[in-house]
Amino acid sequence: MDQTDEQVRLLADDGTPLEHDTYRADLGDDDLRDLYRQLVVVRRIDVEGNNLQRQGQLGIWAPCLGQEAAQVGSARALRPDDFVFPSYREHGVLYVRGGMDVLSVLALFRGASLSGWDPKERNLGLYSIPIGTHALHAVGYAIGAKWDGAELCAVAYFGDGATSEGDTSEAFNFAAVNSAPVVFFCQNNQWAISVPLSKQAAGPLYKRAFGFGFPGVQVDGNDVLAVYAVTKAAADRAREGGGPTLIEAITYRLGAHTTTDDPTRYRTVDELDMWKAREPIGRYRAFLEKAGLWSEELERDVQAEADRVAAEVRAAVEDMPDPPLSDLVDHVYADPPATLRAQWRRLEEFEAQFASES
């Protein structure tokens, strides 16, 4: 759970760059600064999500606070052709891949849609609510891509809790047997709602991969450069025909599981403080400062961008219309059964009674 010798790190807790035998983040100065912008904006979107829920604009919000480096660093290592299969907390991944497409996620948590985006548009699967199930979709997609001779990888995002689900193990196995171009990206944020990692698994998660016959690597998930480097290596390996990799990014869910959750019931202030001190954005800013890449001007620009995005998110959510009633039935089938059409006509008849009253 804490840092181990096995863990890949490219930044010390105080932001000092660390050398690693295998991994390095090959990013230029502009990219390094842009990474900072993305981290800050993602955190601001997340804060806005929390606020909007508290104000009744969203039904629920699943905060990614503290996991920004794991999400932004990994997503940034991918290409547009790679296909991402997210769980339900990957707002940072969505932001990196689709900019303001993150609004679709806010619509989901508002209860205005069930996800609603076209997965093909940004090679981004729908948020998967049932835990671990979508790891199999990533493997299926990857097997198909391999058959097509496409040079891409599929990436499945899931948490520590998902490693206990059978589907995750089945996904590992199918990927290994087929040498599928997949990256399994596990954000080990230490908690599955109220259940700590110690009750979820008795051994290091990344080592699961070894039993299935493919490599696993543990990375400091709060070190955005290490996450980037490790993900890029795994994605390159997959695209080049090397098969799957499991990445275990050690991070921490600084927020609640969702806005309906009360983490004070199951974890200590000391633990929280320990991880707050290791949160990823401060560390990365310290690195930029040491590298001479941070400036007052950069900070102003980044904060202004975060403010702008937050305002846009807020305005978009506040103006978000309810879905049309026809959304109840319009997209269930390509070719809907006559019984469903008849049921809908009856409901329309019922609703029509109230049309004049509204």
């Binding site: 199999l136 990533a138 198909g144 997209h331």
Partner: protein, 325 residues
């Protein structure tokens, strides 16, 4: 015209679909080298290769999850659950994703997956190889549920299922795999969602599907011979969509209906048919719609299945109950 078994018709349908569209791929346990435990995929690995016919690890949820991912990549997977009783590990994938993905993406992502499941009893097998789980699938919005009763229909319905953009649970009545019918292949029968009157009659309508169509037809023949009455037999062919129109038209004509299925009675297809026909044909009915089904118990040991399963005698006994009403 040739004498063709349902197994051969299904095999030919898969072959023809794979030849017609190279996005059609097969996956499942033992579907490759062995040709499936019922030989439905026999010879296909040899002719289409490992990228089209995939022997998978023994993991049904995995098979369904992989199929979903393949569909997202643009393939049209036809996966096989080896037995009815082995299909349950895949239910989470079916209910949570296969059935919902189109709706969750507001129509953007189709799920053209066919899940073939040999189902039903009457073959002297163990309980987990004899079950009729159709209600689980019929109750899951987003799926179509299809079950043929004859070789010609098996061929045509499977071809239609593979071409459909909606996910289809394709239930194969395993006890009818080896029964023959004179037919030429390829053959095109009625579209999915259409029931078929297999035998016309005037006194009572028997409704059946899959393995029970033969039993219903035999019962109708016996009823005629024994002077019990003239029975009409409807083969549902597809459970979702359900052809309410054909059911209601027939019940309105005969005034009596008995639904026959192997699955337990409680919340089975019979309940749905009875409710719909009662609502739409209420004033034409001479008797309540009755059901002749499996018991509301787990599938019994094989030595008791003859009693558990509806047979000609129990169907006729139920028919008599309706006529006496």
């Amino acid at each position: 015209m040739a004498q063709i078994t349902m197994a051969k018709a299904l095999n030919t349908a898969l072959r023809d679909a794979m030849e017609a569209d190279d996005r059609v791929v097969l996956l499942g346990e033992d579907v490759g080298t062995l040709g499936g435990v019922f030989r439905i995929t026999d010879g296909l690995l040899k002719d289409f290769g490992e990228q089209r016919v995939m022997d998978t690890p023994l993991a049904e949820s995995g098979i369904m999850g992989i199929s979903i991912g393949l569909a997202m990549r643009g393939y049209r997977p036809v996966c096989e659950m080896q037995f009815d009783g082995f299909s349950y590990p895949a239910l989470d994938q079916v209910i949570s994703h296969l059935a919902k993905y189109r709706n969750r993406s507001r129509g953007a992502q189709a799920m053209p997956v066919v899940c073939r499941i040999p189902y039903g009893g009457g073959i002297g097998a163990v309980e987990h190889h004899s079950e009729s789980p159709e209600t689980l699938y019929c109750h899951t919005a987003g799926l179509k549920v299809v079950t043929p009763s004859s070789p010609a229909d098996a061929y045509s319905l499977l071809r239609q299922s593979i071409e459909a953009d909606d996910p289809v649970i394709f239930l194969e009545p395993k006890r009818r795999y080896w029964a023959k019918q004179e037919t030429d292949l390829p053959v095109t029968t009625e579209p999915i969602g259409t029931a078929k009157v297999r035998k016309e009659g005037s006194d009572l309508t028997l409704v059946a599907y899959g393995p029970m169509v033969k039993v219903a037809l035999d019962a109708a023949d016996a009823a005629e011979e024994e002077g019990i009455g003239s029975l009409e037999v409807i083969d549902l062919r597809s459970l979702v969509p359900l052809d309410e129109e054909t059911l209601v038209a027939s019940a309105s004509r005969t005034g009596r209906m008995v639904v026959v299925h192997e699955a337990p009675e409680f919340l089975g297809m019979g309940a749905e048919v009875a409710a719909r026909v009662t609502e739409a044909a209420f004033f034409h009915l001479e008797a309540p719609v009755l059901r002749c089904t499996g018991l509301d118990v787990p599938y019994p040991p094989a030595r008791l299945e003859e009693t558990y399963l509806p047979g000609v005698d129990r169907v006729l006994w139920t028919v008599q109950r309706s006529l006496d009403f």
